[in-house]
Symmetry: C2
Subunit: 177 residues, 2 copies
């Protein structure tokens, strides 16, 4: 699912054409009435890999589609007016009710087919008073030898967990087609 | 200039309202006719800091607004279907006609007032056959003691150049309000 094609001009409501504008080199949604060009660009999904003092990792079981019932790291779309780091903290709070300290970016993964870039920060849980938010059925800590590898919601979550388990230094960068 | 508010529904063309949808916690453009919610999120600007073998840095003098006539690093909006790295290479080619090898991410800067995140990669020029693209008036190499610090186009370009000059290891992260 690439981002949906736009059908109407956001400025005047006229049905748009997809064509290459004169000063451009790729197709855009162009309004035949007012000339407005509406761009579509990749979006950032930001989240954390929260770790307890004993090394366990926090995962959320999704209450919403897609992938309802599967396990994920807390993450979601970055919002206007916040930094990448602030977005990661907000999503951790909203989805897991968890307070964390960010320890640094650990993964930046291009997800080409959906037009997204996923950012995960390694994070330290400040306490164990977490609780599922509206988008989670359940939030719990897993020992690394009991992680639900077969019930993970997203490939970027798997890659980020594998990067942590491997202990490889540096930021994981990867691209998923 | 925060990203412009949307006026019409991209699905059906009806004038939208800005309000908080039932399952949400912030204002969105909501269509009163078809119910479509149009999200607006931060966009990524991706570019490079290209270095010649002798240590000189490549800058482009902008041919377009904003900041026409001022100097910048090659950078622009990331496009659908490309990775962050591919976007940085493309912009370096389009704006400076330059071929580079990426040496790693060196700066990731939130620019809150425009809803952007700027990514710069340190890069090695593969040859000196660069030439201005349509968005540049001029492309040239600068020794570090002759950099046009008073004629830089953007604060993120300044921060990235300062980070390189300082020689500080690691990725610069910063937020501009
Ligand atoms: Zn229009
Ligand atoms: Zn509508």
């Amino acid at each position: 699912m690439t981002p949906r094609r736009l059908r109407h001009c956001t400025e005047c409501g006229t049905a748009v054409d997809y064509r290459v504008p004169a000063d451009d080199n790729r197709e855009r949604a162009v309004c035949p009435a007012c000339g407005h060009v509406q761009y579509q660009n990749p979006l950032n999904v930001v989240g954390t890999l929260p770790l307890a003092e004993d090394g366990r990792v926090l995962l959320c079981r999704r209450a919403i589609e897609p992938r309802r019932g599967l396990w994920t790291l807390p993450a979601g779309f970055m919002e206007l007016g916040e930094t990448v780091e602030a977005g990661a903290l907000r999503e951790t709070s909203e989805e897991a009710g968890a307070r964390v300290e960010l320890l640094g970016l650990m993964a930046m993964i291009d997800v080409l087919h959906v037009g997204q870039v996923h950012f995960f920060y390694r994070a330290r849980l400040l306490d164990l008073d977490f609780a599922p938010g509206e988008e989670s059925l359940e939030v719990r800590l897993f020992h690394w030898d009991e992680l639900p590898w077969d019930e993970l919601a997203f490939r970027t979550v798997r890659l980020t967990l594998e990067h942590q388990r491997a202990g490889t230094p540096g930021v994981l960068t990867a691209a998923l087609s």
